[in-house]
Symmetry: C2
């Protein structure tokens, strides 16, 4: 059973890890942050979370540079970029013992699978964050809309502890839901991420507003959504056309949002090309779904964004 | 019958018009250049043509700012960008009487058709230039390889004068061939232009060498070629796979060539999106050829390169 205020480790304190870690810390959990580039700034000034409702600071922060200095926790929140999955075991293993729950809040597909390579599948959960967050400078995270988080079990079947984790986030002020099917949630999230993260890069580093201002890019976004919908269907997840239309309409209402992949691209950082584009493409193709537009986008992004992410094909060759 | 050294007008004295106009002038034709932005420089210093064999200068140049100051010619060479086709009648009509031959040396599809809107089809010819030329500064044109030109009749059927025009270029030192099917030549040229002009922009303003250095972009280039090949087949033009492989191999041997569309894009000039991408896409789709990769590229380019080219659909709406 998860304690009411568990001992938590946050692996990767960017926008997602920093935000949810601070929400849990504010609620009173014993939160330990594994920090890298932001270590000095965060230790000196703490975290500042800017929210439309009310901003808050966490200071002092329990920050660390090595996982073994934190040790085993009740709950480990994994929020590193998927491009860092090849370092996962080194980062996460020291935080886990037989009772630890490990929750991946990463983007794209294949992240829980990367954890399952060295952690028993039964200890793994994953969450999908539908939220607009930007880390605007070291230790400073802006939240533009409260958003939602869908949490589910990697193994699929419902457990009592699933609800305990959902309730923990709820008590900490995060709108959280139990996802009966992580796979369905994941495909639904990709319905948005694939066109908008992808085109924001391929159209030259633009915002969602610039995509929606072009009839051609909007049409292409919709055609990409249809391909993702077909891949999801081949994997047993029925996503109705209404959902696609709703995503387009919601995006039209958004301000000029900068998807995280676009920010990474513009700043010259690694882009999660495999997790967001390559893995869904391969999963669709494995069921003989024709996805030529996603394939075109994926090849273009591979050309535009050199990345060191593990690519299954490359792995086998090496 | 075409005189041995005809009176020639060159409309659009960029790389293509400047180069072939100067070759004809050097041979002794009475060549009149319609100039716009380069008028002052060319009138003062003439044209300098840099070639691997031997460079040469044409000075003084018979340059003009208005077509009506040139008047009717035996041969009019049209070499403006396809994005300027909407001004075609104003530029070309004053140069044409009942005996004039009008030869379009423009990129992409739909150019001869634009001429046919105001000139009898029987007076129209077109040529495909397989050549590497860059206008490096006003009046200075660099030629990297001699190249070839394929000349044919808009109406299709062979005429004695077709060979006269081919022979004129040959006498002027240009390797020229009679094309029995302009359509076939055009589709063959697009087999290269669509992937390499397109990806050089979509992959962020890169050269052919950078495309060939990426396995993903090279694969995408080939998949685009296959779609163009299928569209050509639907229009009765059989282009064998060998031709595609040869184009890939030739491009691999090229230096870091900058396709003209990429130079236009990087310099913020209009890109010939409709002539090179939109029109071939529509012609393929009109025969029910599935071209999702070209469609994706076209939509992306429409988003990346705002252009004022006439778009058939828009025309109807207006």
């Amino acid at each position: 059973m998860l304690p009411e205020k568990p001992r938590v480790a946050i692996v990767g304190a960017g926008a997602i890890g920093g935000y949810y870690g601070c929400m849990l810390a504010r609620y009173g959990c014993d939160v330990h942050f594994l920090l890298r580039s932001d270590y000095d700034t965060v230790m000196e000034r703490g975290f500042l979370i800017r929210r439309p409702e009310e901003s808050f600071t966490i200071h002092p922060v329990q920050g660390y540079q090595k996982s073994k200095d934190i040790g085993p926790c009740d709950l480990v929140v994994v929020a590193v970029k998927a491009t860092a999955n090849r370092h996962m075991q080194k980062l996460v293993a020291p935080l886990v013992d037989g009772h630890t729950l490990v929750l991946s809040l990463q983007n794209g597909m294949g992240n829980a699978e990367a954890l399952a390579e060295f952690i028993p599948a039964v200890q793994i959960m994953a969450g999908l964050c539908f939220v607009c967050l930007n880390r605007v400078e070291p230790g400073v995270i802006e939240n533009y809309m409260p958003g939602r988080i869908f949490i589910g079990e990697f193994m699929g079947s419902y457990r009592e502890r699933t609800i305990e984790v959902v309730n923990l986030f709820e008590r900490a002020g995060v709108e959280a839901y139990f996802s009966r099917s992580l796979n369905e949630s994941l495909w639904r999230k990709l319905i948005w991420n694939i066109p908008f993260n992808g085109l924001s890069i391929a159209a030259g580093g633009v915002t969602t507003a610039e995509i929606m201002a072009s009839e051609h890019l909007t049409k292409l976004a919709y055609l990409l959504m249809k391909e993702v919908q077909a891949a999801a269907r081949a994997h047993g997840q029925i996503i109705p056309d209404d959902f696609l239309d709703f995503q387009i309409e919601e995006t039209r209402k958004m301000d000029a949002y900068k998807p995280s992949s676009m920010l990474d691209f513009v700043a010259g950082r690694e882009v999660e090309v495999e997790a967001i584009f390559g893995e869904p493409l391969r999963r669709g193709q494995s069921k003989n779904v024709v996805m030529p537009r996603l394939e075109t986008l994926y090849y273009l992004l591979k050309g535009l964004c050199p990345s060191s992410e593990a690519h299954p094909k490359r792995k086998k060759k090496a």
